[in-house]
Subunit: 367 residues, 2 copies
């Protein structure tokens, strides 16, 4: 699990600006790169504060402000139509994971040379013309640090995943001022999502020392700062630390990825529409406990960083940790276990083998 | 010294390949990027093994194999003449810090749009056309991870420093097989150079948590693996760990940089031609001890990672730690102290104020 000689590919956005107010560096950088036409991809809330990116009147800025949570193909197609008209020199993702994921696809598909269907999978994107900048306004998905994008295929009830180095941002601006307005419940759920990325990458058969440094630092930062940010949204030190932790979680996803925690949490989202962060919060503490016997030192590091069990840590953040309280019928647990057990690509990453019965036991414990 | 909210710019090469044999990924990547003309910048030893980069007969590969240690303007000009003729699609630095530093300059100056004089300083380079890959064959300078290049102006006895984001590599290949042939003394001196980068960035007024993760991991890896690599050059795990540690040291140099250790070590190189790594090894342990009272926790982390004092750690690697044994006359210490005391830009980074008398005391202790 920790052999440094195992070959690995590590990807980072080459420029990361971090600190209060750095959102305006996007325009500075765009000017230096002669980017005259800019497409900002945002949800409605962030579309109203595009001014924070600092663009002046010399730049043509078009804002797509229609990003929806868990964006579907229709949402993407509307964006691609705009990108096709504008032919931007720069695409900026400005929002949470949904906005950033769509910005990645607008950057590589906006010119119309490839379709979504053609690039679903790994390394099928052939290139990218416009520059790509990511400005996260939540601290959770880590999309700003990674090479993946998810789009929902509503018709066939599946997620379409695209992975490509061409979707790695040229510039990431981590501006803690953008997250101060997040309500405590969102701060908590998104923060635990980032925590789950780090924990599941750290307790993972594919764990690697060159990625562990991000996983462990992310865990430590979240352990130290998430409660502070939930209690006081304007705590700039905590907000900055969480922005870094979220990106570190994103660094973990490409080369290592998550494991059983995310697999077992998925049915809570797909079948019962629980937000991704909340679903992870409910499940990953039980998976961490399940894995403890095969990864005692790593589990101890996590618990030490959180100062308590992962379950209590999440509960103390105000997260409802009982599935029974969230409208999930107990009769559905069997079907959920079937669904989770089918996600082999993540279960195979788990340091301890997970049977369908194990999954059912975890659901019952979490119920 | 550890305020996460202090704004910071962090740069990483976007693609890092790490592991035995990954040198050949340079050609794979170059092909995917349609790079048909390649200029490899190497010293004579590495020029003879350019085959390891994996280029096939379909690629026009020109090798500049004349890189000298501490390259001077004449060395650079010879390289630029070749680059001007070839107009490569890709420049590859293949060697130690000297080859990688020259490759950076060939990539940004090779087209002849700017001269060296015009870009000396920070952020004066206007752009770069060819791709840039770095393949280090020592583990020490960290040049592969950074944005700086040094050229010696022999005539005026000074170092010319160029810093530019355009000199950040597009791809870094950390291949431990390239360093197995390094003799123990070189492995030791270069490893301690990387250690000094990490230690001086960690005990630095500009230290930042987002850089500390590289500094501390670099220190831990060197503490754990450098002695092994010196004792058995073919220890692939140790060689891989040191390649990562060296790059982490490079990550520290841009946003934080070194401090008094490097400043006080410089005169050993400029006046007495001691190799850079050896000079740092002699000095930084004394600076670490000098700083201990103002940075006790950070000093403790370093000593814990090394398992002993920094002085003993270097001595155990077989490094001659007494200046008196290296042909440096005691009568020169005063003039050396004057010279080191003038390097304000690094002394100002030191967590404890350093007087000229302090420097002289350190020289006398190290003598």
């Amino acid at each position: 699990m920790t052999d440094v000689s195992r070959p690995i590919s590590i990807n980072h956005p080459p420029i990361i600006e971090c600190g209060a107010g750095v959102a305006s560096k996007v325009a500075e950088w765009a000017n230096a790169k002669d980017a005259d036409a800019v497409l900002v991809v945002a949800d409605a809330f962030n579309a109203d504060r595009v001014g924070l990116l600092g663009f002046g009147s010399g730049t043509k800025v078009e804002v797509f402000g229609d990003v929806v949570p868990e964006p579907d193909i229709a949402n993407l197609e509307k964006l691609l139509a705009l990108a096709g008209d504008l032919r931007p020199d720069l695409v900026v993702g400005f929002g949470g994971g949904s906005a950033m994921d769509l910005a990645k696809l607008a950057a590589v598909l906006g010119d119309g040379n490839q379709t979504l269907e053609e690039v679903v999978g790994a390394h099928l994107v052939k290139g990218r013309r416009p520059l790509l900048a990511q400005v996260p306004t939540t601290a959770g998905t880590g999309s700003e640090g990674g090479t993946r994008s998810l789009v929902t295929d509503t018709e066939n009830a599946r997620k379409m995943a695209v992975e490509s180095l061409y979707m790695l941002a040229d510039l990431v601006a981590l501006d803690p001022q953008l997250t101060v307005s997040l309500p405590p419940a969102i701060s908590a759920a998104t923060g635990v999502d980032a925590l789950a990325h780090c924990v599941e990458s750290y307790t993972n058969v594919k764990a690697h020392p060159a990625i562990d440094i991000y996983a462990t630092e992310g865990i430590r930062l979240i352990g130290r700062y998430l409660t502070r940010a939930v209690q006081n949204g304007e705590d700039m030190e905590a907000r900055t630390a969480l922005a870094l932790a979220s990106m570190y979680g994103g660094f973990c996803l490409g080369p290592v990825n998550t494991a059983a925690g995310h697999a077992i949490a998925y049915p809570l989202g797909t079948r019962h529409h629980l937000p991704h962060g909340h679903a992870n919060a409910i499940i990953f503490p039980h998976v961490l406990a399940f894995n403890a016997e095969v990864a005692p030192e790593r589990t101890a590091l996590v618990l030490d960083a959180l100062g308590t069990t992962a379950f209590r840590f999440c509960e103390n953040l105000g997260i409802e940790m009982r599935m029974s309280q969230l409208g999930i019928p107990e009769s559905d647990l069997e079907a959920m276990a079937d669904e989770a057990f089918a996600i082999k690509r993540l279960l195979d990453n788990n340091p301890r083998e997970v049977s369908r019965e194990d999954i059912l036991t975890i659901y019952k414990t979490a119920y």
